[in-house]
């Protein structure tokens, strides 16, 4: 067998394997989309079905999103967007600030702080829910967006990531700027921030992803159904007595849209950021 034939066979095999995996990955979406076109009772009566039936399929369910409980779905959507933008912007800003500080300066207690950051990445956040909740009540922050993002203001994984990223940047840049009389924060904002764009890209995706699908904590904090996020709102359409699939399915499809758009936009910087950044340890 010649080298070329072998290569060709390998190409076919490898690509075929990936195609199979891709089909496995995408089939739930195909199903989701199909069911979003059918009346909700179809799902309840017949469960999963991969057949497209033009007779009963239409985009009517999508219109129903506007009318379902006076258009509450779009309130959830708005909440989710506001929270995602707030949480991501604040997280990126503070995370990079701290990460940069930990990478570029030597100071007493630095190793302790780094160790704490590492440790926190291993703490299951779930165990802190109860006291955090009691704290929010005392601070009268229940049902506020700030209460929802409070535990994610300075995410340890971002600090860790930005620190690693900054370590990979040449220190000379910083020193040269010092010589030019730039202040510490001036260096950060004018020189480091532009250089950390790939890292910001990577963290934007991770943060948006975490925030968009976060269920447990927003569920505990938010108490007004107009302020719910999409995952919580969607959970209310799932009841022990039958799910409201005509809202659930189109709602789920619509919910994928913004996050996929963000992903497609930031994808390049995302991978570049990861490649040069944190995970190199």
């Amino acid at each position: 067998m010649g080298y070329k034939t072998k290569k060709r066979i390998l190409t076919v095999l490898a690509t075929l394997l990936m195609v199979i995996l891709a089909v496995f990955t995408l089939s739930p979406f195909y199903f989701m989309f199909l069911s979003s076109l059918k009346p909700g009772t179809e799902m309840l009566r017949y469960g999963l079905s991969f057949t497209f039936d033009p007779q009963i399929s239409s985009f009517k369910n999508y219109e129903a999103l506007n009318t379902y409980r006076e258009g509450i779905y779009w309130d959830w959507y708005k909440s989710s967007l506001i929270l995602m933008v707030l949480q991501t912007l604040i997280g990126l800003f503070l995370g990079s600030l701290v990460g940069y500080g930990l990478a570029m300066y030597d100071f007493k207690g630095k190793n302790i702080v780094i160790t704490i950051v590492l440790l926190l990445m291993m703490v299951p956040f779930e165990i802190l829910l109860l006291p955090l909740y009691q704290m929010l009540i005392k601070a009268k922050m229940i049902n506020s967006y700030f209460g929802v993002i409070l535990p994610y203001l300075v995410p340890p994984f971002m600090i860790f990531f930005f620190r690693q990223y900054c370590l990979s940047l040449p220190r000379e840049m910083m020193e040269a700027a010092y010589m030019d009389g730039c202040s510490d924060f001036g260096i950060f904002f004018r020189i480091m921030v532009p250089n950390m764009i790939p890292a910001y890209g990577a963290m934007t995706i991770l943060s948006c992803m975490n925030c968009w699908n976060n269920l447990l904590w927003p569920l505990i904090v938010l108490s007004n159904d107009r302020k719910f996020t999409i995952p919580i709102g969607m959970a209310t359409t799932i009841t022990p007595y039958g799910n409201a699939y005509d809202v659930l399915m189109p709602g789920a499809v619509m919910a994928v849209v913004p996050i996929v758009i963000i992903y497609l936009f930031a994808q390049k910087t995302f991978i570049a950021g990861l490649t040069s950044g944190a995970v190199k340890g």
Partner: protein, 424 residues
């Protein structure tokens, strides 16, 4: 940079500001439920309430949550004294959690006592402590048998001839032999199969003194009966684990099983999810036990309650009594929700016989048999251990019944021991 900070700060402050309450004329109440369906009743009765000039105008903010979440949030709100609604629905198996310690629900005796003779009081007792009634149910939840007459006729059986559970089992053998289909299904992840039959047989999980009787002979023998039906194939595990899954509905709708025993409110599951069976399903009382017991049993339910600390507790009480205990409210409970109302006066009245989708689906004799069982519905001992008992039935007993080789007695014993270990 400064600008960015200012903008961020402004955004934060904006987010922090919680919805402001305007000082408008109508009294504003908040109502929580986990069952969106119920809202149609509340809305209808709210319109009627506001139409009467004698009543103070009300505006009710109705919030729907997920089942678990609603109860969790209510627990937290009551424990912390922050954020509770004025009115909340509480599911029956969770109710006892809210009757512990300092009860934070408002007693409704002034509305219940005057009409006590007209109510199915075994339903009111579910939500009572020390003679105080804290919750009102929408329905009796009398357990009935839904018969698929097409399958039974194919096996040459008239469902009216099935009087006892032994008849039922025998009929099942014929059905299996003639059609190859099971007679009934038992749930493996929920309690709707086990409890109603146990209760009808005269058993219960607890006594009112919190003594565990989950392993009494009557429970063990009922479980063994169910087990025997599984063993010879006349009963099978409900597809999807319970009678509330897409898998079960699709399967049942396909005419794959002859019967199911469920509370009365299951009526609308057939009309909504099993349309192909229209005209084939008959509602009948449960078969009885030769060795005693009752004609039916009650199961499931939701207690509508008023939170005692609400500044508008009085008007909230008046409203829920109007919505759920009045003749009008109870007739609408049937019309809008398809439930069996707890006010006995409504049964047999022309208002209850007005044509609707249910009469169309089941025929017009829905209530004919139903009314004969209303006088013999046993109480359930809903003590503060009842939620724990229900948990064990759902999570352990039902599973063991369907998926293990344990005998009825062994299952009852193990579950009872587990429940006992939870009582300090």
């Amino acid at each position: 940079m400064k600008k960015m900070l200012v903008v961020l700060l402004a955004a934060l402050i904006l987010m922090l500001s919680v919805t402001a309450f305007a000082d408008d004329e109508p009294i504003k109440l908040t109502l929580w439920t986990f069952q969106e369906l119920h809202l149609s009743l509340y809305r209808e009765m709210l319109d009627k309430w506001n139409a009467d000039p004698a009543n103070p105008k009300l505006e009710i903010d109705m919030q729907v949550y997920d089942y678990e979440d609603m109860h969790n949030k209510l627990t937290i709100a009551l424990q912390t004294g922050e954020g509770a609604p004025d009115i909340s629905e509480i599911e029956i198996s969770m109710y006892a959690n809210y009757l512990k310690g300092d009860i934070q629900l408002a007693p409704l005796n002034e509305y219940v006592e005057p009409i006590a003779d007209h109510l199915v009081m075994s339903r009111m007792n579910n939500y009572a402590r020390d003679g105080k009634y804290y919750g009102i149910d929408h329905h009796i939840g009398a357990t009935v048998m839904f018969y698929n007459t097409e399958i039974l006729e194919a096996a040459g059986i008239d469902y009216k001839d099935i009087k006892t559970w032994d008849d039922f089992h025998e009929a099942g053998k014929t059905v299996l032999e003639k059609t190859g289909k099971p007679m009934t299904t038992w749930e493996s992840t929920d309690c709707w199969s086990i409890y109603p039959i146990v209760s009808q047989h005269g058993g219960d999980w607890l006594t009112w003194d919190n003594e565990v009787v989950m392993d009494s002979p009557v429970v063990a023998s009922t479980l063994q009966f169910m087990k025997d039906m599984l063993a010879d194939g006349t009963a099978v595990a409900a597809p999807g684990g319970s009678h509330h899954t897409e898998e079960y509905w699709g399967w049942m709708n396909g005419g794959n099983c002859a019967t199911v025993s469920m509370p009365f409110w299951y009526l609308n599951r057939f009309t909504n999810y099993m349309p192909d069976l229209a005209g084939k399903i008959k509602v009948a009382p449960l078969p009885t036990w030769p060795d005693g017991g009752h004609k039916s049993s009650q199961m499931g339910g939701t207690g509508v309650s008023v939170i005692a600390t609400s500044p508008n507790a009085e008007v909230a009480k008046a409203y829920i009594a109007f919505a759920t205990l009045s003749f009008d409210g109870c007739v609408n409970t049937w019309k809008l929700l398809g439930f069996d109302p707890i006010l006995m006066d409504v049964y047999g009245t022309p208002e209850m016989q007005e044509p609707n989708e249910f009469f169309e689906y089941y025929g017009d004799d829905i209530f004919t048999n139903m009314m004969t069982v209303l006088d013999d519905i046993p109480d359930t001992a809903i003590t503060d251990m009842y939620p724990a008992a229900t948990d064990i039935v759902k999570a352990q007993m039902a599973y063991d019944l369907v998926y293990t080789d344990k005998t009825g007695e062994e299952i009852a014993k193990e579950c009872a021991d587990q429940l006992r270990s939870l009582i300090d």
